[in-house]
Amino acid sequence: MANATTAGKAAVKNGRPAIDLHVIGPIVALIVLIIIGALMNPNFLSYGNVTNVLARSAFIGIIAVGMTFVITAGGLDLSVGSMAAFIAGLMIIVMNALVPTLGTGWPTILAGMAAALAIGFAAGLFNGLLITQARIEAFIVTLGSMGIFRSLVTWLADGGTLSLNFSVREVYRPVYYDGIFGIAWPIIVFLAIAALGEIVMRHTAFGRHCAAIGSNEQVARYSAVHVDRARLAGYVLLGVLVGVATIMYVPRLGSASSSTGVLWELEAIAAVIIGGTVLKGGFGRVWGTVIGVLILNLIENILNLTDLVSPYLNGAIQGVIIILAVVLQRQKKATR
């Protein structure tokens, strides 16, 4: 900056440095993992395995897209895993209850899906209003609602498991297991939501406002950003996306219990951070989150497909990768 006079005249588009670890780090990690996987097991790149990994990434992935917005705006939501279990439980109860009136076909399922989205909306609104109107820390609010949702689903299931009516399940099942052109529905929905999310983050006022609030709430407020409204919208969006994830989840096993969605919140947050979004807020990228989710699921897949390490150590390997991903991004900053 010292050379303002001379440098100023050269204020042209000279862009960023050619290689930015912060930008390509997650992509490199993903590629390395894919190469390792392919070398370790010939089935790794088979159609079946690729479909498995992508489809199971979908739930966390869809949630993590929403989480990207919340974290970018400087917030956090610890309740999404419990919320998913709660929505799944209620959705199953609603569908089972509708069987006598609507039958066991699509009308019941569509009603169940509508219910899932509505409950997700309401749950997100609940979190968001407490955070923006009652002005309680997001961490505390969602820690509380995490317990509330988890208890509610345990209570609804009487400590056991809620199972979807068998005939409804048979009709609903293809939503997870089938697809078009050989691509499973969860993958299609996940990628569509990720693409939309990326556009919203990068090319709409809402995405810009989230980043502004996350980097400095005061500045945002002085710049005519409706801070509370935008933050509330973030939590509601996340709630609705949890609903979408649940819609894809329920047909997989047709059941929900108190163990559904345990630790999903941490996986989603980890995926967001691995993807390069800043935990403190101010900068977020949805495509990075998608890569983060894939990295997390690939590690698990590779560990299952190979006998490299004791299964006791799976968690440790994941932990190391998460920390490494963040360290790589830090280093960039430190040299600035």
Partner: protein, 317 residues
Amino acid sequence: MGVTNAFKALAVVTALALPASAAAQETSVIGVSIPAATHGWAGGMNYHAQEAVNRLEEAYPQLDFVLATASDPGKQVSDIEDMMATRDIDALVVLPFESDPLTGPVKRVAEAGKWVTVVDRGLSEDGIEDLYVAGDNPGFGRVAGEYFRQQLPDGGKIVVLRGIPTTIDNERVEAFQAALEGSGIEILGMEHGNWNRDDAFTVMQDFLSKYPEIDAVWASDDDMAVGVLEAINQADRAEEMWVLGGAGMKEMIKRVMDGDRMIPVNVTYPPAMIASAIEMTALKFVSNAPVSGRFIIGSVLITPENAESYYFPDSPF
């Protein structure tokens, strides 16, 4: 004590207990501390505990129960300390989350002169409890192993899903492996499915990708069996293998009863053992029946022939 004998003993004790004389006595407080319902089996166990407490409080006005569920060992220790400090319990029925962390606190309860009943998971130190009621974890694995041996006399390839890494899981798996010794059955892979449907689904998907040939699956738990079956169906390999779960979830018993090819049998590990333990402890305070000692409830093989007697459609598990 044999399997059936243990059951009989419990039945006798229970029968004695129910029509007991509700003589006006001093109120006794019995604390019950169990893990929270984090998976199917624990859910069933919670159900049976609550049910037993309700039933006994109704039958014996002089008994008072304090039921606490804990989501981790630390919380369970606090629960027990609270019971001692604020409820002044006369007896404690505890199903320890983990053996080691609970040994000290339970020992202090025993040292304070209280009656202690330990359920399912033994403490790390012998001689603390007055009454021990437990399932037979090595038996659970052995019975399953013997069935595999019988079904695959010429050997075969199987995969194993393990539970949450704990003593229970280790005992089961060790006994299972011991039972298979020399049978020519090859265990292709073992991974932890954490007694969770979703985790089991994922692990099984990856087993299916990894191994082109699998003859049978020991899912070692019915919750995990649900996820395993779903993954097998998805891969369209149902014709190739069968699955053995365990613990007697009602849906699985039903399938055994119906003669499902994929679920030929099941192995018991009754969550109702907590109810027996609570009943026997209650008996100590309402009668003079001798209730101390060790009661091991053995694991039995449920086959289409005997399945009906293990089918409880109203239980949550």
